[in-house]
Amino acid sequence: MNALQIKKGATKHSAYNLRPTFSEIEERHTLAVLVENEPGVLARVIGLFSGRGYNIESLTVAEVDHTGHLSRITIVTKGTPQVIEQIKAQLGRIIPVHEVHDLTVEGPSVERELAMMKVVCDGDKRVEALRLADIFRANVVDTTLHSFIFELTGAPEKIDAFADLMRPLGLSELARTGVAALSRGE
């Protein structure tokens, strides 16, 4: 037996077999959960994560179907493959949950997050902040003589990168929405 738990002499090797279910390697997954928008449904989802000791890296929620009263919760979570499978199964047990999709494994997907950053600075730093904002295609949504509020949309890594650049220039406040995600294609 090697580290991948493939039996010696085994003839059937699928990609599934290459990934041991009980691996210790943690993975980051983005889940889209379609729920009935009834009181307490978010508490049920969050309670599941805290009660069973799962991680939440980011969570966003809003009603997406006003006539059907359905909300879409996007959760970014981290765990071993076994834990990720459990999270999906446990989410599926919640009565108001209609669908659980693992966007990370269901094919390519787009992830976007919106951030607003207040940068307080003067002189050269002010010019530099504007130049960088231009490169990152961030919009200025508020300005005074000594500050800007930038609005930036992108993948979480892009927002991290922009925030890192703004920090030495006078980043004073940062608000992020968390990730919203959709699968690519039809």
Binding site: T21, E36, G40, Q86, A89, R93, I95, H98
Partner: protein, 584 residues
């Protein structure tokens, strides 16, 4: 059919329409409108308990012995919080119950009003689902949906929180109709996987069925199908604590219970099998012991209605999501259509091996002529009651519970009610009341320890009030026996807080409640005393003074594998290592 009525009346009407004839409860301020409706009708019988926890356990006992939903009605605040233990118990054992809690009026919610508690918040993690109903027009739909959720898929407890103003207000009542809920769990298993399992059964040389509470929950037909499959294939079968009775204990393929205090032959069969067929069990830690040493050489099939049970603890090679009854039916169909094949020669060898293990006689204990051994007490109880088809057993939690599982034989499902997952001391007595309500003429015995029993002893009032002839068979060792046993094994015999001092005189206690008390301390008197208990028409507290320091064996010490099981009279000092000692 639609009708106008108050919310309080709707509760009673909906329960009637759902076929409920018995509820367990305790009134209070916020619940008064519903209690007023209960007063004005005769279709639903209300059993007044002495503590709300007792109401929930009684409903659990009722549900488990009848297969129907157990219903509880309590008031707001403390009434609701007192149901939490019972709800958690029902959640872990997948028991369908409906708890209706009254709530302060909607306009007072959030104001820290008298007897206000955030009931849906508190009970969210200990129910399968719960509802706060703020509109009387929605009430009847919610109640019908609650029955649907409690009984479909993996059963479980549900709760409806009902503010007082919603009980008073008038709205439109709708009778139950076929559920339009999106919650429709799948009951049929995948035929490809079922065929794969049948192929594995045909080839297996050392197969074993490992069955659990899911077989019982699936209904009596599932137990019949299991028995047919086991006997037709001649494959040995073991069961968890929760599944006892699904396959008859007198059946030729019965191995006895498995797990931490399971039988030697059952645990070794699990360890040594080449095909394990898990039917409606969940690889609980009481069953598996050390995970990485759990049945190392077997292919594991897992049949469960709850997809989250699959691969949660043990990787399933053949996972089948579906209702046990449906899946068993399909397995039988496919197995028969493929020619009813098994490796009969290998099975003969396998049974011979199991018989060798059986010869170890793992339940042996040192008999005594002077003191009553708890095992002996249960053997006598079994001998004197096993012929009664209407015998129902409930238990509390601890050594006596494990001995009851080892020494009592169950021939039918729904005749054994015990707190498995949560291990709730105080479960058995109120549960016995619920069972007796569902089966008025049956012999209902609660096998108890004195410490567990005292936790809900107030229910003697209920038993006497409703003339429920429940038999409280207390194995009194004046100790928290299982705690004491673990302290002996794990904590250098430092018996911290594990003895019961200042115990009541149970005979006088029984008499104080207007019931019968029997004391027995001599093994020679035991049979007569048990017969006296059985023949008395009314509730009995049987105080059976037993050997104080008896250990419950066999035992798989925590952190050990199935084949490291301890037998009677084993050297038990330092048997659990540091790694095992952090486990429970």
């Amino acid at each position: 059919m639609k009708r106008e009525m108050t919310g309080a009346k709707m509760v009673v009407q909906a329960l009637k329409d759902q076929g409920v004839d018995t509820i367990f409860g305790y009134p209070g301020g916020a619940a008064l409108p519903i209690y007023d409706e209960i007063f004005q009708q005769n279709d639903i019988r209300h059993i007044l308990v002495r503590h709300e926890q007792g109401a929930v356990h009684a409903a659990e006992g009722y549900a488990r012995s009848t297969g129907k939903v157990g219903v509880v009605l309590v008031t707001s605040g403390p009434g609701a919080t007192n149901t939490v233990t019972g709800l958690t118990d029902a959640l872990l054992d997948s028991i369908p119950i409906l708890v209706i809690t009254a709530q302060v009026p909607t306009f007072l919610i959030g104001s820290d009003a008298f007897q206000e508690a955030d009931t849906v918040g508190i009970t969210r993690p200990c129910t399968k689902h719960n509802w706060l109903v703020k509109d009387t027009n929605a009430l009847s739909g919610v109640i019908h949906e609650a029955f649907h959720v409690a009984t479909h898929g993996r059963p479980g407890p549900v709760l409806i929180d009902l503010p007082k103003d919603v009980q008073f207000a008038t709205g439109t009542y709708e009778a139950p109709k076929p559920s339009t809920s999106h919650y429709q769990p799948r009951v049929k298993g995948d035929m490809e996987e079922i065929t794969e399992l049948v192929a594995a059964i045909e080839k297996a040389k050392r197969p074993v069925f490992y069955t659990g509470g899911g077989v019982i929950n699936s209904g009596p037909a599932a137990s019949q199908l299991l028995t047919e499959l086991v006997d037709a294939t001649n494959i040995p079968v073991t069961s968890t604590l929760m599944g006892l009775g699904a396959y008859p204990a007198s059946g030729k393929n019965w191995l006895g219970m498995l797990g931490m205090h399971g039988l030697y032959e059952a645990n070794l069969a699990m360890h040594g099998c080449d095909l394990m067929i898990n039917i409606g069990a969940r690889f609980d830690d009481r069953i598996t012991g050390r995970i990485d040493a759990f049945s190392p050489k077997s292919i594991k099939a897992h049949i469960d209605i709850d997809p989250s049970s699959i691969n949660k603890v043990i990787k399933a090679d053949i996972p089948i999501v579906g209702d046990v009854g449906h899946v068993l039916e399909d397995i039988l169909k496919v197995w028969k259509s493929r020619g009813r094949k098994t490796d009969t020669e290998a099975l003969v060898k396998w049974h011979r091996q199991i018989d060798e293990w059986r010869k170890v006689n793992c339940l042996a204990y040192t008999a005594s002529e002077t003191s009553i051994k708890p095992q002996y007490a249960l053997q006598r109880l079994e001998a004197l009651t096993k012929d009664r088809k209407d015998r129902f057993i409930t238990t509390e939690v601890g050594q006596h519970q494990m001995w009851a599982a080892q020494f009592l034989g169950f021939e039918q499902p729904n005749h054994w009610m015990t707190s498995g997952g949560l291990g709730t001391m105080g479960y058995g007595f109120p549960a016995s009341i619920g069972v007796q309500m569902g089966h008025p003429d049956a012999l209902v015995i609660n096998v108890a320890g004195e410490a567990s029993w005292l936790m809900n002893m107030q229910e003697m009032g209920t038993a006497v009030q409703y003339r429920l002839p429940v038999k409280q068979f207390i194995l009194n060792n004046e100790r928290l026996g299982m705690v004491r046993q673990w302290q002996e094994l794990l904590h250098g015999e430092r018996y911290s807080q594990s003895w019961s001092e200042a115990l009541p005189d149970f005979v006088k206690l029984a008499e104080a409640f207007g019931a019968k008390g029997i004391l027995c301390k001599d093994p020679k008197d035991l049979d007569d005393a048990i017969m006296e208990m059985i023949n008395h028409d009314g509730p009995v507290i049987f105080d059976c003074l037993v050997e104080k320091h008896e250990n419950c064996l066999p035992m798989i010490p925590s952190g050990k594998a199935h084949n490291e099981i301890l037998l009677g009279n084993a050297q038990t000092q330092d048997i659990i290592d540091t790694k095992g000692s952090v486990l429970v």
